[in-house]
Structures are given as C-alpha cells and as structure tokens.
C-alpha cells in the first residue's frame, strides 16, 4: 500500500514538471504546477500512514488506538495553503497577461532574453 503512495507521488511530480516544461498556455502551466504540488501532499500523507490507523482525533476513540501521524497532516494542510497562495498569485498574473497583452502563451510574452 505505502509503496503505491510513493509511486503515485513520484508520478505526479514528474508528470507535473513535464507539463510545466512543455506548456504553451499559462493557465495550463499553473495547473501543472498545482499537480506537482499535489505530489507533495501524497508523499507527506504516505509517510505518516499506518496500516489500520485511525484518524488522530482522540475524542471518541481509546488512547491506545493506533492512529496515523497527525504531524504530516498538519504539514499537508499548511502546504495546501501555501500552494493555494502561489496558484492564486500566478493566476492573477495570467489574467493580467490576457487583459493587457491578449496572450496567455508564455512564449509570446518574450520581453526578456539574454
């Protein structure tokens, strides 16, 4: 089970990076970046997973119940917030590119070379 999670994380990471490298559309590029980011969620949750573990909320389960690692879940939540901020900022830039220059192709911006 846990090996699958790591393989999925690696796959998402590589697929996302490939998307970013080959993208011809800013929104597509930002979504690919989001895919790459989601690989870290899978990785973190995979690291904290325990076979048969319950959600780490001790309100209604006995203290001795095996639970999954709550730390990585907190990290994942923080990571989601960080990723959302980056994506929102990038999408705002994409909207500006479309509005002002009528293009969302990263190759057509082309103001900076050498």
């Amino acid at each position: 089970m846990s090996l699958l999670a790591y393989l999925v994380a690696v796959w998402l990471f590589l697929a996302g990076i490939w998307g970013v490298v080959s993208s011809r559309h800013l929104v597509h590029l930002i979504m690919c970046l989001a895919v790459t980011q989601s690989s870290t969620y899978v990785l973190l949750l995979g690291i904290g997973y325990r076979n048969g573990g319950k959600a780490p909320i001790f309100g209604d389960i006995p203290q001795s119940t095996p639970v999954v690692d709550p730390v990585v879940q907190a990290l994942t939540l923080t990571d989601v917030v960080v990723s959302a901020t980056v994506s929102a900022l990038l999408l705002a830039l994409a909207v500006q590119a479309h509005k002002r220059f009528g293009s969302v192709d990263p190759d057509e911006l082309n103001a900076l070379r050498g």
Binding site: S22, T36, L44, I47, D79, L89, Q96, L109, L112, G114
Partner: protein, 586 residues
Amino acid sequence: MVLTSLAILVPLLTAVVLAATTSLRRRRAADVVALAAAATVVGLCVALVVRASDKPVVAWLGGWHPRNGVALGIDLYADQLGAGLAAFAGVLAVAGLLVAWHQVDVAGHLFHALVLVVLAGMVGFCLAGDLFTAFVFFELMGVSAYALAGFRVQERAPLEGALNFAVTNSVGSLLLLVGIALLYGRTGALNLAQIGEALAHHRPDALVAVAFALVACGFFVKAAIVPFHFWLADAYAVAPTSICLIFAGALSELGLYGIARVYWTVFSGPLEPHAETVRDVLLVLGLATALIGGAMCAAQRHLKRMVAFATVGHMGILLCGVALLDGAALAGVAVFVVGDGLVKAGMFVAVGGLEHRRGSVDEHELYGRGRDLHALGVLFCVCGLALAAMPPFGPFVGRAMIEDAATHEGLGWVSPVLVVASALIGGAVLRVVRTVFLGRGPKPPRSRVTGASESGDEPIERGRAPLAGVVASVMLVALGLLWGLVPGLIDAVTGAAAHFVDRSAYAAAVLHDTAPRPPGTPGEGLTTAAWLYGAASAALAVVIACMPTVPVGALRDLHSGRVGDYVAWLAAGTALVAGVFALTLP
C-alpha cells in the same frame, strides 16, 4: 527570549495594519510607519547579535521545552551569524523603503505591507530552528517577493519576470519540501538539532543522500546557482529599484544561508566521512556559477540585468566559500555577503538614478550621455572597483578570507578563478563608466535591446535625482567600503562562524540548554597572496573595462526567457546533483 518573536511579529503585524489602512492620501504615513517597523527589526536583531555573544538565544514558542533531549515544540534559534544576517536584511529593507520614498508608482498598492512581509519572512527564516518553520517563512518571503517583482504588472517585462520568478522558485520550494518530508520519514523529527542527533553516528544511506540533494537543490534555486539561476536576471531586472536592492543584497544570500544552516546542523554528522565529495560537488557548482555569472554580467548592455548577473557571479563565489565546509571560509562568506550586498544595493540605486536622469538603462543608448553627471560617474567607478574586490574594501576582505581558507585546504587554484569572476563583474561596471560617463571608445551601433525601456520604474519627468535616492546610494556604497576596515572584524566573524559549524554545540544548546561556547579562535590576518589577488582582480577589471562588450555567444541564447526551459534546466540539475550524491555518498 521575547526578542526573537518580536523581530518577526513587528514587521508582520505592521504589514497587516498597513494592508488594512493604506490609501493614496496616507502615503507618507505608510512610509514612516514601514520605516519605523524596519528600523525596529534592525534594532531587535542587533540586540540579538549582542545577546548571542555569550551563548545562542533559544526561544521555545508556547513554552514547549524539550524533555530529556526530545523536542516536540518549535524553537527560534538566534546565533550571531543568523541574527546578523537578519539585521542585514533589515538594513536593506530600511534602505529600500528610503529609496521608495520618492517613487510615485509604489503608492497605495500594498507596497509597504509587502516589503514588511518579505522582511518578516527573511528574519523568520534566519531564526527558524525547525525545518518546516523554515520552509513556511521561506515561502512567505518568496510569495511576497514574486508580487513585488511584478509590481508594475501593466508592462510586459515585469509580468514575464514575475511569472518566471514565481514558477521556478515554486518548483524549488517543492524540492525543498520533498527533502524535508524524506527527512521526517527517516527520523520522525522536524527540529534541526533533533534530526542531526538522529542521523549522526549512522552511515548515510541513499535516502539521506537524496534528501540532502533535494534540500540543497531547493535552496540552489533561491541562491541562483547554475543551472538553477536563469530566473534571477529576469526578476531582478524588472523589479522597482527599491526592491532590487533588497533582493540582490539579501534574498539570494538566504538560499545559501539555508544550505549552510541545514548542512551544519543536520548533515555534517552522517556525511562527515564523505565531506570531500560534498565539497567537490559544491565547489564545481560554485565555480561554474561564478564564471558564468561573471561572463553574462560582462556581456550585458542592460544595466539592471548587468547588476543582476553580478549577483549570480557573487553567489558563485559565496558558494565556493560554503563548499570548503570550514569555519574560516564561512566567516569569509559572512563578511562578503555584507560588504558585497551593500555595494550592490548602492549600485542598483545608482542605476536607478541614472535612469531617472537619462530615461534609459541601455548602455549603448546612453553612450556619452553621462559626461556631465560627475557624481554618478564617480559612484559607478567606486562600485566597479569595489565589486572587482579591490583592497582594502568590504568585498575584498570577504573574498580574501575565502581564498586563504581554500589555500589552507590545498585548493590554491580556486583563487585565480575567483579573481577572473570578480574582474569580469567589476570590469563590466567600469566599462559603463568608460562608455556612458566618459564617452570613450568606439561608438556602439544604435539598436533596441529587449526590455531596455521597461526596467520596472515609472518614467518620471527628468530632473535632478531625488535627494533621498542619492543619499541612500552614497551611504550604502560607503558602508560597503568601510565594512572591510572595521577593526577586529575578522576575529569576531571567525569566532561566530566557528560556533555556527559546530553541530554538537548546536544540538546541546537547543536540546539540553547547555552551550559551552568554544573558546574564540582568533582569525588569522589576510595573507600577502590574498592582497595580491585583490590587486590583480582590480587591475584585470580595468583591462576588461577597456575592451568592448564580452561576446558570450551560445551562453546568452540559453537565457531564453522561457519559463519551460528554466524548469527543464532546474529538473536536469536536480537529477544530476541527486544522482551524484545517491551514487557516491552511501
């Protein structure tokens, strides 16, 4: 105890207040409040440096102290180098806000709040004692920096620069996060000292090697190490001047600080037997960065891109210092960061002043048009010589300390390479003095350079340069020059660096609250060879200044401005570094 938290909270909370209240009418109020907050940060961090001279200041947030050497809480850790870097970031933020005082276009758009958030992120990153805390502050600093780089979003170049900056650095942060996750999976800890203790005395396996590679590559992106550096010139060349000087002086340096901090607290234990391999890999990257940055700098005619590539070259020199994995070299790095950061910041302001007076940052367009700008010409000339590491100024002392440490380790051949890199950078600036301010040499053909007219600052009416900008520029450069002349500087920094590289002292201070500070090892004075190298690089810079623009051919074409290419280079670099470490370290 409370100083560490305040140093982060003051700028952060002030930013919140400013974001909630700033409007165009209250521009001056925002200027004053932001300046006061940044100055307070400088004061707090200097107080931390003084306090940390006995033993490092460790603050456990919420009172979650470690029990029996196991840390569950989150700590802020301030030693002299960390707090000193935070103070330096604060000084640059003050300078940046002063320069922004007269910039019309920064009014009312949350500019001041964003600067303070960047500052809070920088200070938090310097003081973090925990990998994930460091990551969050790193991201906080990064995201606000992306927004600031693209502040003039209505133009093509800043928009593209901000996009390239944000995408490449986000991918870098992800590498860092994956590295952190792997370390947590191996040790079950996030605290730097605790991870270091868990990994020490074990042979490094492939997982530790790959985690180190990922963390290092994540920081390499921010530190603009070849081949992770492509975004830097795009971002720094398009940001407003006031932001450029904070970025070029402190932002990239924090990436290297991250590598140094994590190596010496976490990896120096398990990787001890393989220190030479790590050194060789980092040294190769550092030398490549120094030379490529220097060559690209000398090939530029867009002045802001020139200073941006100077930053890349200097990051290479700094990485060489870190790569020696030695306290004395790290002390040189610390001295270089401050001296060079101040001069480069002053240089950015001077370029801004030239642009304000003549309406261009293109060297060819400006040919001979600076003949009557005597003060700016002198300023450029002094900057050029200082960037070429002419003795006895700030950048020279730092580079000389790195060179002496390299010679001490039997790597004397590193020094001439650093001399060439410095000379290329200083020579490029001196060439601008020759063409723009003296009008000497063959007149270049008139042709448009990409992005030349779009340099990030609002074209305001020409006239006398605003006083605040001139004063800030002269002050910054003067401080950078005088930095090398501070009495006792080498001894003090060498002592602080010796503490920084002591993993067991760090772990003892954090986990057991006992920190017998090692007796200060007095730094050795600079050798004659180092003085000669300094003089040589200044002389070589003058020679380079007399030559036309250095042609770099295909190297220039690699800086394509396409974010996809940049990420491809980043992925290839990561694969290479991770592959080398995974094959050689376990």
